[in-house]
Amino acid sequence: MQNKTTALQQRFFLLPLAIDTNGDEPWYCLFAQIQVVGVLGRRTIYPVPFSPGYLKGCIEWQDSVVPVIDVDLLCGGKEKNPRTPLRQLLLVRTGQIDAVSGEPLKLALKCTSTVSTFKPSVHDNGQIVAENEVPPALAAQDLSRGYFRLRNYRVMLLDLDGIVQGKSESTKRVGGDDGMFLHGSDG
């Protein structure tokens, strides 16, 4: 009971996902308050060459450098119009630790839609989402710790530990046999 009470005092953050749901209800990524370091305003994202498409670059934050992820692309969705202005960056801490500083490794999640928050009530219980409800694009990425329904939201818990360490399959593929991942080699 005490754990539930503590959980109810927490706020949760919902990041909408722009993935194809065949007209069904949208999906959201859920982050607990304890995971969220902050919500940052617009700032310069510095692109880094030879990065997978979802890894947009890095930002400067408190004299350190944080990678920026486009969650829509990471989850198999399409990138919104590149001219869609960046609204916010959701700065989250992961479960992995920086070997040098001893601090949790962080990621900045690019938000072109508004991040919403809510505080669950005692009546809010997560409901299981059927396997066939999960969009194939999401299931194929194998980045989820779980899917469930909370209030009227279909949510997934994103596993970012592999991403922050560069251990995702997409990152490994960069620099494979072809040697280079070029941002368009047409000339």
């Binding site: 990065s51 450098v65 990678p67």
Partner: protein, 165 residues
């Protein structure tokens, strides 16, 4: 302390070591680029040729690509000369080596090879570009372009043969 040169390429700042910098050439004084062997070159006043590096193929600069350059930064790597379009004439400075840091682990080994170090001044991020990796990338781009041209010619040859029949 390390002597560095800061240059603005497409709205972002990059740093090179001073010994890599051959020349900063204002656009008004630069010769007209020419094509040779699937690459674009600039002829310098002392008769050498510098390869123009289309960094936009490597960096997803996006909206900043419209920024117009007004200088060329000529860098040397061994016997090769590279020309990078640059805004402004750049700045010389110095940086403490211990303040330079690598890219976070989220980035691939190839990214880290291209960008071996970063300098953060509390407001901006300055990325160091490794010239050896840049040269390899330019060679790869030229190779891929040549392959594409060969493929196009082959396809045209096949179509021409089909029409003749």
């Amino acid at each position: 302390m390390k002597e560095i040169f800061l240059s603005q390429l497409c709205g972002y700042w990059y740093l090179f070591t001073v010994d890599q910098v051959q020349l900063v050439l204002p656009l008004a004084e630069a010769p007209v680029p020419f094509n040779r062997a699937d690459r674009i070159w600039l002829q310098t006043s002392d008769g050498k040729t510098a390869e123009l590096c289309p960094l936009s193929l490597l960096f997803s600069w996006g909206a900043h690509q419209a920024v117009v350059h007004d200088h060329f930064l000529l860098l040397h790597h061994g016997e090769r000369l590279l020309a990078l379009p640059m805004q402004g004439s750049g700045y010389y400075g110095s940086a403490r080596i211990e303040t330079m840091r690598p890219l976070p682990p989220a980035f691939s080994a190839l990214s880290r090879q291209m960008i071996p170090a970063l300098l953060v001044n509390g407001r901006e991020v300055f990325m160091q570009i490794d010239l050896g990796t840049l040269v390899q990338a330019m060679d790869k781009i030229a190779y891929l372009r040549k392959q594409k041209q060969l493929l196009v010619r082959q396809e045209q040859g096949v179509k021409g043969g089909a029409h003749a029949e």
